[in-house]
């Protein structure tokens, strides 16, 4: 039951935040999101014929069934409905054998691994005193001030958004001057911030919490980590938090004070403007504005999300 609820939240996060935001007319219009809540059944025609979804895998049977029942991928499809994709994009939940999520450009498929969902639920979103911790390693689990619900929603939504970023870059042939992985993080962070302050705080807190856990999993910074195509976990966390602080300093002031070193803070407004400029010039041209208005009527966080 616990995981069922979590999966539902994950679904909500993935779908809602992620892909709806790819349109983000609101970003540019500087308007607040539509506050009216429309349930999934009420949602108007939200179909993207270029988005294909499928649930596979048997190892995590219970998780598989919950995710499928919750129609997580169908919601992703709805949220991507405003995006005029040049090719078919496949979303798949699957068992990967490792904690991961990835986009494969050879078949335009985003793979969301059950192992990753499981790790988030059972490590990153767990109170540290309930986890077996090595005394010599940085503690894993929830950071102070982050709820389990925020950790799950933010992490899964953030990961799904990140992979969607890769997919959109590839399929739409969007030029990237920055490194691919940081670029995908920036898409995720930018999108998280387009659905009002409440949603943004949940997503950013959850995403920062997961980067903290990734860092805790690899406390020794090796040459291989420095050479990796991803930035170091906390570098990623700081970059996303900085985007948020840059967009809404008042909303994120407490989080910045707690987690973001002062030396980084002055550049955050510029970093957010950079993301906004990139979105306007490279993704917005592919967004159907009328369809986006419909997507923005979808509910992002549901009442049950706060009861975990």
């Amino acid at each position: 039951m616990k995981i069922l609820t979590n999966a539902a939240i994950a679904a909500t996060a993935i779908s809602a935040v992620a892909f709806a935001s790819l349109a983000v007319d609101a970003v540019l219009a500087q308007t607040k999101p539509d506050q009216s809540i429309v349930t999934k059944e009420q949602a108007p025609e939200l179909k993207n014929s270029n988005v294909v979804t499928r649930y596979t895998g048997w190892k995590y049977q219970a998780l598989y069934e919950r995710v499928k029942k919750r129609a997580v991928l169908e919601e992703i499809s709805e949220f991507l409905s405003p995006l005029k994709l040049k090719k078919k994009l496949i979303f798949e939940t699957t068992s990967c054998g490792v904690v991961n999520a990835f986009y494969d450009p050879t078949d335009q498929t985003v793979h969301l691994c059950y192992e990753m969902l499981d790790w988030i639920e059972n490590v990153a979103a767990v109170s540290p005193d309930k986890l077996k911790q090595s005394p010599d390693a940085p503690p894993r689990g929830l950071l102070p001030g982050v709820t389990r619900a925020e950790a799950i929603v933010g992490a899964i939504g953030g990961v799904a958004l990140h992979e969607t970023g890769h997919a959109v870059f590839d399929i739409q042939q969007i030029p990237r001057l920055g490194r691919e992985e940081d670029a995908a993080d920036m898409v995720a962070g930018f999108v998280m911030l387009q659905f009002g302050s409440e949603v943004a705080r949940v997503m950013i807190k959850g995403m920062f919490n997961v980067t903290h856990n990734w860092q805790a999993e690899t406390p020794n910074i090796s040459v291989a980590l420095l050479a990796d195509s991803h930035s170091l976990a906390l570098q990623r966390g700081f970059a996303i938090l900085c985007l948020a602080y840059g967009k809404e300093p008042d909303t994120f002031k407490d989080l910045a004070q707690a987690w973001l070193p002062p030396a980084r803070q002055p550049s955050c407004a510029r970093e957010y403007r950079q993301a906004e400029n990139a979105f306007r010039k490279t993704i917005l041209p592919y967004v159907d504005q009328a369809q986006m208005k419909k997507v923005r009527q979808m509910q992002i966080l549901r009442p049950d999300d706060s009861k975990l």
Binding site: F169, P175, R176, L177, R179, D182, A224, D228, R264, N277
Partner: protein, 297 residues
């Protein structure tokens, strides 16, 4: 022997051993014509620190900035971009300010000179002469800072870290001039990064990645552009060393199944889409590319 010019001249500014390679009068005329069309403005600011005076004098005498001005002449910008050399109050680099000139600190050049080997040095399996160790990081530093300013001046869309974007653009330009220039500047920069990276503290919140990360990013782009030429950085048939491109990164750099997705081709595509096709005078670029910028005499 119309070699050198810009980058070579930069080397002259840094190393007296290259004085023999002064460009001919004909070359000077060619460069002047390019400089006249350039939107880059240059200036040498005299240092107050007497220890930095020799660097200032060498750069000025050898017209290093004027050559960079010629090299960058194909760039079409909405307004002039200023490049200056200056004393930076003991800092090797000034914090980035969009409206400030591109500033090459004498302190940074002093650090390059200090890090360079007296004779021959190595970075992994690559052999680096003192001249290469001087020229490479200077060219990289100048180009990456020009790129950082151009990103803002042209309001280029940057997904990801803008500091990385500047590094990637610099690496791409270095690789595109000619294979010889590419190898010298990549090897020289790699040597400098490897040397100075050992002492740089890791600050995870800094906007600019650690120099070790920048080192591997540079190698990744280089290997993607020319696997054979830069294979010295790959641990093939030998144990992986600390300055080799690790196995976990090599796959991303090559993307053998789909090379169009490797990091070199990614920055190449972005450069063409966002800069070359819109902000470069192509006939002038063709002219610049006929000049052999860093040849051995």
């Amino acid at each position: 022997m119309r070699t050198f010019q810009c980058v070579a001249a930069i080397a002259f500014g840094l190393s007296s051993s290259l004085l023999a390679s002064i460009a001919s009068a004909q070359d000077s005329d060619t460069l002047k014509a390019l400089r006249d069309k350039s939107m880059i403005k240059v200036e040498y600011k005299a240092p107050t620190d007497k220890n930095l005076e020799p660097i200032y004098q060498r750069l000025k005498t050898r017209a290093v900035l004027e050559r960079m001005q010629a090299f960058l002449s194909p760039l079409r910008l909405p307004q002039p971009l200023n490049i200056i050399t200056a004393q930076c109050g003991g800092q090797i680099e000034l914090p980035y300010q969009p409206d400030a000139p591109v500033t090459i600190c004498y302190e940074y050049i002093a650090l390059i000179e200090q890090a360079a080997p007296a004779g021959l040095g190595t970075v992994g399996q690559a052999i680096v002469t003192r001249d290469i160790a001087l020229v490479g990081p200077f060219v990289q530093f100048t180009l990456r800072n020009v790129a950082r300013h151009i990103i803002d001046m042209l309001e280029l869309p940057v997904w990801g870290n803008a500091e990385d974007a500047a590094d990637s653009l610099a690496a791409f330009i270095m690789l595109e001039v000619s294979p010889q220039v590419a190898q010298k500047t990549i090897f020289g920069t790699a040597y400098f990064f490897a040397k100075t990276g050992q002492s740089e503290k890791l600050d995870l919140a800094a906007i600019r990645p650690h120099i070790a990360q920048r080192y591997f990013n540079l190698l990744c782009i280089a290997v993607g552009s020319d696997l054979v030429r830069y294979s010295v950085f790959l641990p093939v048939d030998r144990q992986e060393g600390p300055v080799d491109l690790p196995k976990n990164r090599i796959g991303h750099c090559l993307q053998l199944a789909a090379p169009e997705h490797n990091e070199y081709n990614q920055i190449k595509y972005a450069f063409h889409q966002l800069i070359r096709d819109k902000h470069v005078d192509l006939p002038l670029l063709k002219q610049v590319r006929t000049i052999e910028w860093l040849a051995d005499d």
